[in-house]
């Protein structure tokens, strides 16, 4: 029987000729990604058990991102723990504060993770890297500890959901709107334990940044990971990072591969979508209700990339963030920050009255840099709108594309970005 991409990778990395969904396998991990929130617990567990070693310091990537620069002494200690371990064990790939940014986005940009690789990390959005044709998934600190120690992780081979996307996005509609629509259709646990494999002409025509947005949010549908097959766009993206085809293995799903679910989406029918509180599946067309916002947030591993910042700048150019709205823009990495500065985007953000922050997870997870207070209403380009996610449990979080966030920031209420596109200076 044919296999999917995910099944082929898991078979290869577990030393099996083939695998079937439901099978428990012990898998080699090509990469272990570590940040400062879940890694210190893993290290403590290993130390307590006298398992204080790493399987290969060259296959571990460490990027502090959640609570850095530290906002209090406890956070500073966690950062110190990660950093001292990195130095003690000779971890080769360390992207310190000022050299990194959000771990997932740093990683996608390094060329380290390659098609056919396996990647685990103590972070649910590790699935982001699936856009490169790798099998990447989030785990807890115990699994992380096990992977650091042995380079191995157990998996139950997941079933796969095939998502076929055809047609062309209308202006103002983006991959974020696509993934919010899919999660709306299948539900926040609609892909529970499944791989979400994205195919179709819309995906073929999509740049890598858009694909990362899709795979990043697999976890928001309960998915084990998202994945996109390698094509010319992937190869070019890797080549630009010095990765040559002999360094990776491309897998394609067989034509007779078995899918648990197949869904079909017409991209041309999509509208700018906003996920209402308190679950990412609660999508409605942007601007359906006139909802006043107090906060607008652009950033996160989902949508803090350069193309996202360009979309935001196109709308903010020559305009102002509405009075009473606190807008924060967080470029996902140091490199994106620099690129945005070179392109003049920073000036546009600052002139519009937005606050530009340093590369980090920022306020996405309610730890620092823009935590929401009681009854605040935030429109955010991030991935999760659970109760208390960004701060006080009474705050309301709406998820949307960067363009929708920008349009809403200007109007002061949740708005359709198409009202700004091609209708004024924004698109000029």
């Amino acid at each position: 029987m044919g296999m999917t991409i995910a099944e082929k990778i898991l078979a290869a990395r577990s030393g099996n000729e083939s695998v079937v969904p439901g099978q428990l396998i012990m898998c080699d991990t090509s990469w272990v990604l570590c940040h400062e929130i879940t890694t210190p617990a893993a290290l403590r567990m290993l130390e307590e058990r006298g398992m204080d070693k790493v399987f290969n310091p060259d296959q571990i990537v460490a990027v502090p991102d959640h609570s850095v620069p530290a906002m209090n002494i406890k956070a500073a200690k966690m950062y110190q723990k990660l950093k001292s371990w990195v130095h003690e064990k000779g971890i080769k790939h360390f992207f310190d504060v000022g050299r990194g940014g959000i771990a997932h986005v740093v990683l996608e940009n390094t060329g380290l993770v390659k098609p056919g690789d396996t990647l685990v990390s103590g972070d649910s959005h590790t699935c982001n890297a699936g856009a490169l044709g790798a099998f990447a998934t989030g785990v807890g600190s115990t699994d992380l500890a096990g992977a650091i120690y042995s380079g191995k992780v157990w998996f139950k081979v997941p079933e796969t959901m095939l998502i076929k996307v055809t047609g062309q996005f209308k202006p103002g509609v983006t991959p974020k709107d696509l993934v919010l629509e899919v999660i709306k259709q299948i539900g926040a646990d609609g892909a529970n334990y499944m791989v979400m494999e994205w195919v179709g002409e819309t995906i073929d025509n999509m740049d890598m940044e858009g694909r990362f947005t899709l795979t990043n949010m697999a976890i928001e549908a309960g998915g084990k990971t998202g994945i996109v097959a390698v094509d010319d766009a992937t190869r070019a993206y890797l080549a630009a990072r010095g990765v040559t085809p002999d360094q990776y293995t491309e897998y394609q799903s067989d034509s007779d591969a078995k899918y648990k679910v197949v869904i079909e989406i017409d991209a041309g029918a999509l509208e700018p979508t906003v996920a209402y509180p308190h679950i990412p599946s609660n999508g409605k067309v942007a601007g359906t209700d006139k909802i006043a916002v107090t906060h607008a947030y652009v950033g996160s591993c989902t949508n803090g990339r350069i193309s996202d910042l360009r979309e935001v700048a196109a709308i903010l150019k020559g305009r102002k963030v509405a009075d009473g709205v606190q807008m924060i823009v967080v470029p996902a990495t140091q490199a994106i920050w620099k690129q945005a500065a070179q392109e003049g985007l920073m000036e546009i953000f600052v002139d519009a009255g937005a606050s530009v922050s340093y590369p980090s997870c920022g306020a996405c997870l309610g730890m620092h840099s823009g935590v929401l207070g009681p009854n605040d209403v935030c429109i955010s380009s991030s991935n999760r709108n659970f109760v208390g996610r960004m701060g006080d449990p009474s705050a309301q979080i709406y998820l949307a594309s960067p363009a929708t966030v920008a349009a809403s920031a200007v109007n002061g209420y949740i708005s359709d970005p198409r009202d700004f596109i091609g209708a004024g200076s924004a698109a000029d």
């Binding site: 428990l24 929130i37 879940t38 210190p40 617990a41 403590r44 567990m45 290993l46 058990r49 398992m51 959640h66 609570s67 209090n72 406890k74 956070a75 200690k77 966690m78 103590g122 972070d123 649910s124 590790t126 989030g138 785990v139 807890g140 600190s141 115990t142 699994d143 500890a145 096990g146 120690y149 042995s150 191995k152 157990w154 926040a188 646990d189 529970n192 334990y193 976890i219 309960g222 084990k224 679950i279 997870l365 309610g366 730890m367 935590v371 999760r384 659970f386 109760v387 208390g388 996610r389 701060g391 449990p393």
Partner: protein
């Protein structure tokens, strides 16, 4: 006899089980003080060692933070029963030897405060008030092996040292 705490909503997420503002510690007894804080801030005052949580579907969705398992276990919870669990929470439970039991009609079988008898070997939970017996999906052998070893790291240490 353990008491049952019913959190009947679907999609109770790890942000509600242990909010990010408490993630600057990974000490179980510290985390336990805040278990379920953003869902029910009085939960830790009511819960007793050995108690059971009964919850709606997709329990533990969202963040991969294992702190969610540690927080409720630290608060005294011995098991969570739900129709199904989010994937990472479920494997975190297995790795910690903590009981996350899949049970389709569990929410309607209990009221908050009911006493229950959990029989792992028989794979059933009995509501002592109503006498209703509910069957749950047997714990996978792999999970039992991990539990027997004392957790995933102990299992791994034995297997891959």
């Amino acid at each position: 006899m353990p008491k049952v705490h019913v959190f009947g909503r679907d999609h109770i997420n790890t942000d509600e089980i242990i909010p990010a503002r408490h993630l600057t510690t990974d000490v179980e007894s510290e985390l336990a003080k805040y278990a379920m804080e953003d869902y029910d801030k009085d939960f830790v005052k009511r819960v007793q060692p050995g108690d059971i949580i009964v919850a709606g579907a997709d329990f533990g969705c969202g963040s991969s933070r294992e702190h969610a398992v540690w927080a409720i276990r630290g608060a005294g919870v011995a098991a969570v029963l739900a129709p199904n669990f989010a994937r990472i929470f479920y494997r975190n439970a297995i790795n910690n030897g903590f009981l996350a039991l899949e049970c389709e009609n569990i929410v309607s079988a209990f009221q908050d405060g009911d006493e229950a008898d959990l029989d792992l070997k028989a794979g059933v939970i009995t509501n002592k008030r109503t006498g209703q017996v509910v069957t749950f999906v047997p714990v996978p052998q792999f999970a039992l092996d991990v539990q027997k070893s004392g957790g995933w790291l102990e299992y791994m240490k034995e297997t891959f040292n």
